[in-house]
């Protein structure tokens, strides 16, 4: 969220593009709101002009068909009847009239709408009402129609009914902002009593965003598709490593948070948002939970385009976009992994990439507050578009589009390190040998004790690798154990890597170091083996790619003098 100060600065910027005109009419002081909306709109690339009528001039401006507001010829008029003023009027009413308060006000508002519709072409942005609970009868107020809290809640109810019947009116949901940020952040008594400003400057970024979201939607900038990662985004854990029965989904613990996230996504789909999947996985493994896990809320039928492979995600998103034939700027990409997010952000800046919170329990709230899916029309008939897009995808399923990511990798400024096993790392190393399934050539599991023995064995070369880049530290992500076969030959007993760091130059960095280390220890030959499992097809051809010869099925050999260094992108930490 921008600060009010940032919005104030942006409000003076000149920008190009089609001009939109907005008039602000309030029963309170709206100068700061004007500045905030201007700033927010300009930061979103909307060339906005805002006319701010003087305080409390709604009747005068709307009744006179020659008024300044009508002369301004706005595309939109904001009507802001702040609750604070309504509350004062309510208190001044005789008690017997108070039960009529909401009915009187909704009539008044509808009369404003009629006047605007009669005297202008403008659309109406109607603010709903924040709540003030003055505890006149304590909590009992909530059921007594003589109280303000009863009347203001009723007014909100009448307002949503009235808006529902009027296609020219668009809600600005300031009540939802009050719920989100709280009354103590929304309201500042000193600003109210000094300047009749019913919201504090620190709340204006939220309100101006709500307004700008509608303007964006009116100009056709809407989100149509949400592209989802799978592991640790739709469920807890890594399906390829943990397996179907161990991923977190369902009603227990963290699984509950992922389930609720899926429930919300399913609703988005029902409302017309296309769901797509983009995952670094083998396709059949990635689809398994959708087909077989009974706690999954989302099914394959809910997903319009399902892409699971080992290509970079930017290329995959391009494919999704082409298949759906929608604009890049209508896509929201949700992934727990900052590396993937940054890659997509840099390669396709038009895509909306929310900076997801660390804790999956916060995903839902966070994304809801982002308010990506503002629309200015809705019809239940054309809501669920999934089927039509799925069919379209089947037709157009074509060659993957490749795209160079070398520039991006260079830009990451990756730094890798290689070290011998050490005491403090034994448990992490053992854990990796037990959990890694996909990038793991021989899938040999070791306990912590066995790792200790290997570490102390003179005939072993036990290495672990770390990786960091300018966005953060991935920590210990790779383990290599080489064992001496004879004076000249060493065998790669174990090579495994965390899937988070695949396809970004780490493989090259590791093989370079394997060969270098073998040479230093006086070996001229390195042997290796691939033992296929149903999860490690990914690494089937890796040794071949690095110039090893297959001397027997799945067994490889290389002479260290014939090896040509492959690493380009990762600098070694000394």
């Amino acid at each position: 969220m921008y600060t009010f100060k940032e919005l104030r600065k942006a409000s003076n910027v000149q920008i190009e593009g089609k001009k939109m005109k907005l008039a602000v009419l309030g029963n309170c002081s709206t100068q700061f709101l004007r500045i905030a909306i201007l700033g927010n709109a300009k930061l979103q690339g909307i060339n906005l002009d805002v006319f701010d009528a003087d305080y409390n001039q709604i009747d005068a401006q709307l009744l006179n068909n020659q008024s300044e507001v009508y002369a301004f010829n706005p595309d939109n008029i904001i009507l802001w009847l702040a609750t604070d003023k309504l509350y004062e009027e309510f208190l001044d009413m005789p008690i017997e009239q108070k039960t009529e308060f909401a009915d009187l006000y909704i009539e008044k508002i509808q009369r404003y709408w009629q006047l605007i519709n009669k005297n202008s072409e403008s659309k109406i942005l109607q603010m709903n009402f924040t709540e003030i609970d003055d505890k006149a009868l304590g909590q009992y107020s909530a059921k007594i129609e003589y109280t303000f809290i009863y009347q203001i809640r009723k007014l909100n109810w009448l307002l949503q009914q009235a808006m529902n019947q009027n296609s020219n009116v668009y809600p600005v949901d300031i009540l939802s902002i009050q719920t989100q940020i709280g009354q103590s952040n929304l309201y500042s008594s000193s600003f109210y009593y000094n300047a009749k400003m019913t919201v504090s400057p620190s709340a204006l970024p939220y309100i101006s965003k709500a307004v700008t979201d509608i303007l964006k939607s009116m100009s056709g900038k809407i989100k149509k598709c949400i592209v989802l990662d799978l592991d640790n985004t739709l469920w807890g854990g890594v399906i390829g490593d943990d397996g179907l029965n161990n991923i977190e989904i369902g009603e227990l613990g963290r699984g509950h948070a992922f389930s609720n996230f899926q429930r919300w996504l399913k609703q988005l789909k029902q409302m017309g948002i296309i769901l797509a999947v983009c995952s670094k996985n083998n396709e059949d493994i990635a689809k398994e939970p959708f087909e077989k896990h009974e706690d999954m809320i989302l099914k394959l039928d809910d997903i319009s385009v399902f892409i699971a492979n080992w290509q970079d995600k930017a290329s995959n998103i391009k494919e999704i976009q082409q298949n759906l034939n929608i604009g890049m700027d209508s896509i929201v990409f949700v992934d727990d992994n900052p590396f993937e997010r940054n890659l997509v952000k840099q390669m396709i800046p038009e895509v909306e990439v929310p900076e997801m919170p660390e804790d999956p329990a916060d995903y839902l709230n966070f994304l809801q507050n982002c308010n990506y899916f503002d629309v200015v029309s809705f019809s239940i008939k054309d809501a669920d578009r999934t089927k039509q897009y799925k069919a379209e995808f089947q037709r157009k399923k074509s060659e993957q589009s490749f795209m160079s990511i070398d520039e991006y990798l260079k830009d990451l400024q990756m730094i890798g390190s290689v070290s011998f096993f050490e005491e403090s790392k034994y448990s992490r190393i053992a854990q990796l040998t037990q959990r890694s399934n996909q990038f793991n050539f021989r899938t040999i599991r070791y306990t912590e004790d066995e790792i200790r023995k290997i570490s102390e064995d003179k005939n072993c070369i036990p290495l672990y690798f770390t990786l960091k880049d300018r966005f953060g530290d991935h920590g210990l992500v790779c383990v290599v154990i080489m064992k001496k076969e004879d004076d000249k030959t060493v065998f790669i007993d174990t090579w495994l890597m965390s899937c988070r760091v695949l396809k970004r130059g780490m493989e090259e960095f590791v093989v370079d170091n394997i060969i270098k280390m073998a040479k230093e220890k006086g070996f001229s030959t390195v042997k290796a083996e691939y033992i296929p499992t149903n999860k490690n097809m990914l690494v089937k051809d890796v040794y071949k790619k690095f110039g090893f010869k297959e001397y027997e099925k799945n067994k490889y050999i290389i002479n260290t003098d014939n090896y040509i260094s492959k690493n380009v992108f990762i600098k070694e930490e000394i």
């Binding site: 600060t3 100068q31 000094n194 400003m197 620190s202």
Partner: protein, 79 residues
């Protein structure tokens, strides 16, 4: 924080709000001798001061602090 430091920060805040390179502010600058300093920019200054010093000025302080000197004194009451 001493008066000197507060004063420097307030001048910086005011310069930022008034956004006029020709304007030279001192502790004697006030609503009566700075053209840009009107009721609206005054509230911008108050908002930026409250954010910057992480304080909340009272209604009275806001309406009575019509010069830089008075603003600085009001802030010091809260530090």
């Amino acid at each position: 924080m001493d008066r000197q430091t507060v004063s420097e920060q307030v001048i910086e805040i005011c310069n930022d709000v008034f956004d006029n390179d020709d304007l030279v502010l001192t502790e004697d600058s006030s609503m009566s001798n700075v053209e840009e300093w009107d009721s609206l920019t005054h509230l911008s200054i108050i908002n930026d001061i409250e954010d910057n010093f992480n304080i909340s000025l009272t209604l009275e302080e806001i309406s009575n602090s019509k010069s830089l000197k008075q603003l600085v004194s009001a802030i010091l009451n809260h530090l």
